[in-house]
């Protein structure tokens, strides 16, 4: 059983919704991630989505675009991201760590190699938004070979029969895109979210984790009534943008506590 599956099994027993913060590796400062992840784990985060910066993140809104640009300016590359994952494990982080990145840096590094190296670093899987199941052959095989979960997306635009196909290929959990759009903070949840998640639920027993636009405690609570987990990305990045360096950890901890 993978670390991700174990985490969801435990949360289910505890009847808790998984809280998965998204952090851009090397943002706001190059070393920030090493302090943020352990602190947020203590503050109640259950899994982490760790962004790997890319020059052309076409599924992301302005906030995560800015964070990625800053991380690139800070000299972050894929090797640094893998080193960060390894360092987090050395620091005793227990929560599942998922790499979230666009496909080209993985292709350039070598899909097989990057899966081997992520697994060796103690990472648990990949979230790659520009690899739909039709193009997932190589990544999927490499993930299986190295015991990583390949997280697949379903969106409100995904037809039922396709949800079933995607669920068969996926492991760990299904990433349910909460709206038609790019990442970014929203004031309210999409009104169709409940129906969409019910539709997804009919086709899979995998945990359903909702991301895109989840910005506040009431969003997280509402998602908790419909799904197994919530991802908070842009809202957390936005907090980090506002915080002075010395308050990064304390401010993020307070924000993540406030979401629960």
């Amino acid at each position: 059983m993978s670390r991700i599956a174990q985490t969801f099994a435990r949360l289910q027993q505890q009847q808790r919704t998984a809280l998965m913060p998204y952090l851009m590796i090397g943002f706001p400062r190059r070393e920030s991630t090493l302090a943020l992840v352990p602190a947020l784990e203590k503050a109640g985060a259950d899994l982490f989505e760790l962004g790997i910066p890319f020059s052309d993140p076409l599924a992301d809104g302005a906030t995560i675009q800015r964070a990625g640009q800053q991380a690139l300016t800070n000299g972050v590359n894929l090797s640094f991201c893998l080193e960060t994952v390894a360092a987090l494990r050395q620091h005793g982080v227990q929560a599942p760590l998922l790499g979230m990145g666009y496909y080209n840096p993985l292709v350039r590094y070598g899909v097989e190699q990057v899966c081997a190296d992520l697994a060796a670093a103690g990472g648990d899987g990949w979230i790659v938004p520009d690899v739909p199941p039709e193009e997932a052959h190589e990544l999927h095989h490499a993930c299986q070979r190295y015991g990583l979960d390949m997280i697949m997306f379903v969106a409100p635009t995904t037809p039922n029969e396709r949800i079933a196909e995607i669920a068969q290929l996926a492991s760990g959990f299904l990433y349910c895109v909460a709206l038609t759009g790019v990442t970014g903070q929203r004031d309210t949840l999409w009104p169709g979210l409940g129906d969409f998640l019910q539709r997804v639920r009919q086709h899979t027993d995998l945990p359903l984790v909702v991301g895109f636009g989840i910005s506040r405690a009431e969003h997280v609570a509402e998602v908790g009534t419909m799904a197994d987990g919530a991802i908070v990305g842009s809202a957390l990045i936005h907090q980090l943008e506002q915080l002075p360096p010395e308050a990064e950890v304390a401010g993020s901890v307070a924000f993540v506590r406030g979401l629960q």
């Binding site: 052309d56 590359n77 894929l78 666009y102 080209n104 840096p105 590094y109």
Partner: protein
């Protein structure tokens, strides 16, 4: 009349290149587009409507002109020009915009999104949307808006909303990112992609709408010279004008196909947009092709004097034609393109687009090395009115009076 090709490349792959690397939210939208394109691809009522507009609106067929004075100046092969600059809106882009516009209309779409680099595709899209009564939203990098001001104004006159894109290199690549973000947010809109790139079915669909260039030119060359040309030369940004003229000659092994990329102002990464000089295969904006990138897989900045060639990747079919050896790819520098721009203006009374001037530059070199009994066909993909300010600035800088 152009007949559709048999569907040999329906899987969206050209050798290893191509594919559909898009977020899940867009996948069903792309699948819907693929189905709609498949439905019209062999539907004579669609092509009748398109041919009617090509003839009565675009002004097709565009002529082939013998460039007598340019030929004499080069002293080699006879040089012919396929005059896409004479198509309505001044470039080949209208061929694709008209085809996709009709398709959008058949799909009952009301809102059309497009990106533009040089502004030619934006103008063509705005034009077709005006003609067909569709709303158009055009994304354009702010650097490109600066260097192609006349086209920004033209798009606005035609009723388009021009959205400035200030991210990344503020050029074509960034405009495509923003257009795709709009599309993810409004999957009911029609994305009218302007070149033979992006996810399947775009590379195939755009080629099918641009194939008319080569089909006409092949007949026209046979008529004018009794023979096929010995070489066909076209500039390659995304590669739609090149694939459009190359395709009719793919099965003519004696016709050399030469694609000309932007050599920019140097060989270092960031100074050019010559993907076949030092790019690595990778995934950008939905397709697997050659991509200019650094060692970490970050997309490189590019430079070209010509906005329409200033792009980090290239259409996947060109990647395959390159690897298979059927087409040869080379580059012309900014300086060479400027020189060719002046030569064609002075010798033929034709002001070419800076994009097309890259093809002219390479063709002049080639012609000199060829025999007077041979002939060479340039795809003159667009006219240069949009570029006069850029050219004036550069000629001013280098102390030349135009």
């Amino acid at each position: 009349m152009v007949q559709p090709l048999p569907g040999s490349i329906d899987a969206g792959r050209f050798g290893p290149y191509g594919g559909r690397y898009v977020p899940e939210t867009l996948f069903s939208t792309i699948a819907e587009l693929e189905t709609a394109f498949a439905a019209i691809r062999y539907d004579p009522t669609f092509w009748d409507e398109l041919h009617y507009l090509q003839r009565t609106y675009t002004g097709r067929p565009t002529p082939v002109t013998f460039a007598a004075r340019l030929t004499a100046a080069c002293g080699g092969a006879r040089i012919y020009l396929k005059r896409e600059d004479l198509a309505h809106t001044g470039a080949h882009k209208i061929n694709n915009a008209l085809g996709q516009g009709l398709l959008a209309k058949r799909m009952r779409k009301r809102r059309v999104i497009a990106e533009t680099g040089a502004g030619q595709h934006g103008v063509a899209t705005a034009t077709v949307c005006a003609l067909l009564g569709l709303q158009s939203v055009i994304y354009m990098g702010t650097d490109d808006m600066e260097r192609q001001k006349p086209n920004v104004f033209r798009m606005q006159l035609l009723g388009a909303e021009v959205c400035p894109v200030n991210s990344g290199s503020r050029t074509l690549k960034d405009a495509i990112n923003e257009a795709m973000r709009d599309w993810v947010t409004h999957p009911d809109s029609y994305y009218l992609l302007g070149s033979a790139l992006g996810p399947h079915p775009y590379p195939t669909m755009v080629r099918e709408f641009q194939r008319v260039i080569g089909c006409e030119a092949r007949e026209q060359m046979l008529e004018a010279t009794g023979n096929l040309p010995d070489a066909v030369v076209a500039c390659v940004g995304g590669g739609s004008n090149a694939i459009g003229i190359f395709h009719a000659f793919l099965n003519d092994p004696n016709v050399a196909l030469v694609g000309v990329e932007a050599g920019g102002r140097g060989d270092a990464l960031g100074e050019h947009a010559a993907r076949f000089r030092g790019a690595h295969p990778g995934v950008l904006q939905g397709t697997y092709s050659y991509v200019l990138q650094d060692d970490n897989g970050q997309i490189a900045l590019t430079h070209s004097i010509s906005a329409g060639l200033d792009y980090a990747s290239v259409g996947p079919e060109h990647a395959w034609l390159h690897d298979s050896g059927r087409a040869r790819y080379t580059a012309a520098s900014d300086a060479e393109a400027l020189d060719a721009f002046r030569q064609l203006s002075l010798l033929e009374g034709i002001i070419p687009a800076l994009e097309s001037a890259h093809a002219v530059a390479e063709a002049m070199k080639l012609a000199r090395a060829m025999q007077p009994s041979q002939s060479l066909l340039i795809n003159l993909s667009g006219r240069g009115d949009k570029d006069i300010f850029t050219v004036a600035e550069h000629l001013g800088q280098s102390g030349i009076t135009p």
